[in-house]
Symmetry: C2
Subunit: 228 residues, 2 copies
DNA sequence: AATCACCGTTGTGTATACAAGATAAGCAAA
DNA sequence: TTTGCTTATCTTGTATACACAACGGTGATT
C-alpha cells in the first residue's frame, strides 16, 4: 500500500511551515510586535526564503500576521479591543452553531455530544484544568459539526483557533472551570431538547462571558501596570 | 487618511495579481473546475511564476481556489449546497451587523446610511438594476461599518465579496429590486429607531431570501437540464 | 487483446541570483 | 548640537534554474 494518507509529509513545506510559525506566534515565542525576518526564519527552519514567504502570505491572509509592502511581516499588536471584537463575533457564530444544532443534530451526534460533555465532567471532578481545556475544545467542536453547515464549521473553527491563546489566559480564573461546565450542561439540554432559541442564547452568553473575562483580565493588567 | 491597505500603489505584484485572478474567477472567465497552470498565468500577466504562486496561495487560504500538493490549483466546483451554507452564515453575520448597528450607529452614520438608501431608491425609480446592485453594496457596507466592530466588518465584507457572483445571478429575478428596496426601507427604520431585535430579524430575512432565491434558481436550472 | 512496467514529458516545489526600495549611518552645513 | 542630505547596507520582491513527483504513452509480456 502506498501511504500518502497516513504520512503527513506533504510535499509542500510552506504548509507545514505555516503551522510551525503559527504555533510559535500563539505560544508567544514570537510575541506581538515581532518582526519576522524571512532569511532568519529560513535559517531557523533550514529551508530557503521561498517557502517561508509562502507560509507568511498564508498566515497574513488569515489575519495572523501583517505584511506591509517592502516592509516585511510582523506579528500584529492585537489590541485588547480587537480581541473583544473577535469574541463578540465568536459568540454569534457559536450561537448560530447551537441554533442549527438544536434543529439538526442526529442521534449519533447527540451521543457524541454527551460523551464529550461527560468527559469534561470527569476532568472537572479530577480538577485538571488543562485536560478540561482540551476536552472543552472537543465539546464545542461537536456542536459546530452538529450544525450540519460545513462552511460554518470551518469559519467557527478558524476563529476558535485564533482566539485560543486568549481563552487560554482564562484557565486560572477563579471557578471558571466549574461554571463553564454548568453552562455546558444547560447547553446540552437545550440542544437535545431541540430548543434552538434557548441554545442560541445560552451559547452566546457562554462565549460572551469569555470575552468579558478577557476584558476584565486586560483591565486588571493595565491597572497593575499603572500602579507599579 | 493613511490607509496603506487600500492604497493601490502596492509594490507587491502578488496582491494585485490575486485580485485580477479573483476577478476572473468570480466573473466566470475561469469557471469552476478550471485548472490554473502557474506558467500559463505567469505568461498571461507578464510576470514570473513566483508572484503567481504567492497570489494562488493567498486565494487558496481564503477558500477561493483549491491547491492540492503536486497537483496544482483548481477553481473548486462549489456545490450549490455549499453556496447555500454560505448564505446561511452570511444571513447571520449581516443580522449581527444590524443588531449592533441599531445600538451603536452614530448620527453621521445615520445620515450616510440614509443617503445610501436614497441612492438605491433613485436607481430603483430609474429601473437600472446594475446601478442598484452597486449601490446596494454600498448600503450594506454602511450597515457593516455602523456595527463599530472592525473584525466583524472584515469578516462580513469578505463573505459578501465571495458571494457576489451568486448574488449577481439574482439581478434578473422578477421584482427582486423592488422588494429588496422595500426590505431596505424597513431595515433602515429599525436601525434608526434603535430596535436591534427587529433589525436583526429583518436583515436575517433579507439575506436568507437571497439564499433561497439562489436555491430556487439552481433547482430551476436542474429541472431545465433534466427536462431537455 | 489486455495489462503492466518503464520511460519521457509536464508541471509543481524549492533554491539561488538579481533588482529595487527602505532603513540607517555618516557627513556636511547652519 | 541639530538638521538635512547622501550613501551604504540590508531586506523585500521577482526572475531564473534546478530537483523531483505525477501523468501519459509506448512497448513488452501473458
Amino acid at each position: 500500500m502506498n501511504h500518502p494518507a497516513e504520512n503527513p509529509a506533504v510535499t509542500r513545506h510552506s504548509e507545514r511551515l505555516g503551522e510551525l510559525i503559527e504555533e510559535r506566534i500563539v505560544t508567544g515565542v514570537y510575541p506581538p510586535g515581532t518582526r519576522l525576518d524571512e532569511q532568519e526564519l529560513a535559517d531557523t527552519f533550514g529551508v530557503s526564503r521561498t517557502p517561508v514567504r509562502e507560509a507568511l502570505i498564508q498566515l497574513a491572509s488569515v489575519g495572523l500576521i501583517e505584511i506591509k509592502p517592502r516592509r516585511g511581516a510582523t506579528v500584529p499588536e492585537v489590541g485588547a479591543d480587537r480581541v473583544c471584537e473577535m469574541f463578540e463575533v465568536m459568540a454569534e457564530l457559536e450561537a448560530m452553531c447551537g441554533r442549527l444544532a438544536a434543529r439538526r443534530i442526529t442521534p449519533s451526534e447527540q451521543v457524541a455530544l454527551q460523551e464529550a460533555h461527560r468527559a469534561c465532567e470527569a476532568a472537572r471532578d479530577a480538577n485538571t484544568p488543562d485536560i478540561y481545556y482540551q476536552l472543552n475544545e472537543v465539546f464545542h467542536q461537536r456542536i459546530y459539526e452538529a450544525s450540519h453547515n460545513g462552511f460554518l464549521v470551518e469559519q467557527t473553527s478558524a476563529l476558535h483557533r485564533r482566539l485560543r491563546p486568549y481563552r487560554r489566559l482564562q484557565l486560572r480564573v477563579r471557578n471558571r472551570m466549574n461554571s463553564s461546565f454548568n453552562e455546558h450542561q444547560a447547553i446540552v439540554d437545550a440542544i437535545i431538547k431541540g430548543d434552538s432559541e434557548l441554545a442560541t442564547a445560552l451559547l452566546r452568553a457562554h462565549v460572551t462571558v469569555q470575552g468579558e473575562r478577557f476584558a476584565d483580565l486586560v483591565a486588571t493588567l493595565r491597572d497593575f501596570k499603572a500602579g507599579s
